[in-house]
Amino acid sequence: MPVHAGSQAVPIYGNYHGYYSKRPFIRDPRLALLPTEFFVGKRVLDVGCNEGWVTCEIGQFRGAQQVIGVDIDDTLIRAAWKRRRTVWSLQSPESGDINEERCPPPKRQRLLGDASTTDNNTHNYFPASCEHSYGPLPIPGRGCGAFPRNVTFRTVDWVKDEIPEDYDQYDIVLGFSVSKWIHLNNKDEGLKEFFYRVHQCLKMGGVFVLEPQPWDTYSKARRMSETLKENAKYLQLRPDGFGELLEELGFSHGQRLGVTGKGGFRRPVDLYLKQR
């Protein structure tokens, strides 16, 4: 059950702690594969969001209407809320009231399109020491399409359990570097169940963006625990076969957007459209 996930010494769900602090983050390379307008106005689910760095980037910079990050590990979800608060506390003030000298760029410009000027001007405006020394910036109550209110997190094993947001369905579901863990912990049936859930929760015409870990990376992961080792023996599905499964469920043929990552982290990013 997820409630114990965080107290595992070994991250058998791929629930690595300190994942992002070791891999410094400017812009997520997977998101960079997606067109600028991709998330604008959309409802997005980020499965296996860890500490919410990608989730926050989507909410802050990609114009999403609402982004929900879910993870099985409550410690990570708590860190994700904190991350949201930190990102907000680094962001420049919205209006020109405070700093009359500088006219802030219009909100649209904060989209990734003009990265050269927006980076560090908007999202790393304040020194990180400010939140540390004075406490975080309060989050205004106004506007639910705006960051940070458009980003929320939940602790849940989304393969097995529902969240209220599922009922309204999503435009986009992201599965970044999560399929291996779902597969190893829940076997073929569990993975199929996950894909089924994704399909159910997507609106017609919605998209599933999957970044599956390749099969040869499963061997190291399954050595993490006896359960994973045991489960691995029964796996018949392979990442190369995920596309076929998804097509059977009602998705289009997968479109490869690109491959990102280095060395052992080299993974494809594929897009599936729900057509029926």
Binding site: G6, K22, W81, A128, H132, S133, Y134, G135, P140
Partner: protein
């Protein structure tokens, strides 16, 4: 769960033991006597105990690593020009020593300097470097800056050191002429830059210095004897005075001259165009390790004066947001026109109270669910209070499990109550004003009619700005859970009975001292 072989360290003993200090922080509070046994255990390298007492395999980077290089760095720092400027005791002793004959001029006991170098690290005795370690470290790494000798003459009253070593600045003969002696705070600030996104492996004071020196090593004109004069780690807003600040990737670094500042500010500017993560710039191949790591982590610098301005802007903006939130939550103020007082009074009596804010899933906290209670028995406890206040719901139609959380500190005579819904709050306040009680003893969870001299327990719903300020201090996750609970109640579903989760025990109504790393 716990790694075998490590003793369990209860949370409150390990408090305060893990922090790195600044080189000049808290000089007035530094201890020269040996640190107590408590600190010895907390310095034991091993799994760190997080806020909730859960075991987490800790990385060594947060602990001071006292290899010789780091020892030498800390000792040099303790004897820097900045240290001499700031620390009047050090300055006085040095000046007195400089009155001696050339052979002895400028020497101070090594043990004295070591206390300054390591005293703020809060280690137990067995983890303090010995004088022998330190001498070796200085001779290996700081021989161009410091001179060490063994004390051979009879110890004087001043030089009653145990190990018998003394140390002085190699440039001792010019120390008294040093321009920095007359510096103002502003002049030191002009030599100070704010650094951010320091790579994770350098998150200690010696680490920051090694990192900065590494970045400077390829620059001409960076051969000053003590290029880095001071490192200050900003305190956390919840730190107490005696806490040692922990490095979170940023620091204020004072350099020995303006030229070095410029090197940093130009090479690692505050704002720069975004570079893709996977750039294969061939010039990187020539860079040293520190430069590569700096690029990778997005290292950047800012003059302290600019940093000060941004801090001010942050505070002003923060206040603006607080005011906006408070204004949004205040019910509209109705001030009757004095000329029509009589009419207004009549009207107001009939007018329903101004609509209270309705909690939605986007609310920052649940509105109208906070009650403040006072005149409690000084020896009471949370369990008793929970039962006592729940008596308000006994004969009402609401769910009896109406108290979400009792925010109480032992020894206080007041507490806050977080209720499951605004209706619970109103029922509770009505109940205790209609039936005043006192607790006859600490465990009285029913209450007795107050005697003539006794103050009845009073309760009031906290709203508006006070309510907002209270919830601001509550961890975000808990706030959200409270909102969700109230949403369920408002939507007609029964809130579940309050589970005594880990939050009841780990979330303190006073600010937490320990914070999760990373």
């Amino acid at each position: 769960m716990a790694s075998p072989g490590f003793a369990f360290i209860p949370r409150n003993i390990s408090k305060g033991g893990k922090h790195q200090g600044t080189s000049t922080h808290g000089l007035s509070s530094h201890k020269s006597e040996s640190t107590p046994a408590i600190d010895r255990e907390s310095a034991y390298p091993g799994p760190s105990v997080s806020d909730k007492g859960k075991w987490k395999v800790s990385e060594p980077s947060a602990k001071p690593v006292y290899n010789e290089k780091n020892i030498s760095i800390l000792v040099v720092l303790a004897f820097s020009d900045y240290a001499l400027w700031l620390d009047s005791d050090l300055r006085r002793k040095t000046e007195e020593s400089l009155q001696s004959e050339e052979y002895d001029a400028g020497f101070l006991p090594l043990s004295y300097l070591m206390r300054r170098a390591f005293g703020r690290e809060n280690l137990g005795q067995e983890y303090m470097p010995t004088e022998a370690n330190t001498v070796k470290a200085i001779r290996t790494y700081a021989g161009d800056v410091l001179e060490v000798r063994m004390l051979v003459s009879a110890p004087s009253a001043e030089r009653s050191s145990i190990g018998g070593y003394e140390v002085r600045r190699k440039d001792w003969s010019t120390l008294l002429d040093n321009t920095t002696r007359e510096f103002t705070r502003g002049q030191w600030d002009d030599h100070t830059i704010y650094m951010e996104n320091i790579p994770a492996q350098y998150h200690t004071i010696p680490g920051i210095i090694r990192f900065a020196q590494g970045l400077l090593s390829r620059c001409p004109g960076s051969s000053a004897p003590i290029p880095i004069q001071n490192v200050t780690l900003p305190s956390h807003h919840l730190d107490k005075i005696e806490d040692r600040p922990k490095c979170k990737g940023f620091a204020l670094v004072t350099l020995c001259n303006a030229e070095l500042c410029q090197i940093f500010l130009e090479s690692w500017p505050w704002t720069r165009p975004f570079q893709p993560a996977e750039s294969d710039d061939s010039s990187l191949a020539e860079d040293n390790l520190e430069t590569k790591e700096a690029s990778k982590f997005g290292f950047r610098t800012l003059p302290k004066a600019c940093w000060d301005r941004l801090n001010e802007e942050y505070l002003a903006y923060r206040q603006k947001l607080i005011n906006e939130l408070a204004d949004a939550n205040e019910p509209p103020h109705i001030s009757p026109d004095p000329d029509v007082q009589d009419v207004a009074d009549g009207v107001l009596e009939d007018t329903p109270p101004p609509p209270r804010n309705v909690t939605t899933m986007y609310s920052p906290y649940p509105f109208g669910c906070l009650v403040f209670a006072r005149n409690l028995h000084l020896e009471t406890n949370k369990t008793t209070l929970r039962a006592l206040f729940a008596t308000a719901f006994g004969s009402s139609p609401v769910n009896p499990a109406g108290i979400d959380y009792v925010d109480f500190n032992k020894g206080m005579d007041s507490c806050y109550l977080r209720l499951a819904s605004p209706e619970h709050g109103r029922i509770l306040v009505d109940h205790f004003s209609g039936q005043p009680v006192v607790q006859s003893h600490g465990l009285d969870d029913i209450g007795k009619t107050p005697g003539t001299s006794q103050k009845a327990i009073s309760t009031e719903i906290i709203e508006g700005k006070k309510e907002e300020v209270y919830w601001e201090k509550v961890p975000e996750k808990v706030r959200r859970q409270a909102v969700e609970k109230v949403m369920k109640a408002l939507n007609g579903k029964q809130p579940s009975a309050p589970v005594h989760t880990a939050y009841e025990h780990s979330e303190e109504s006073r600010p937490r001292k320990k914070r999760n790393r990373g």
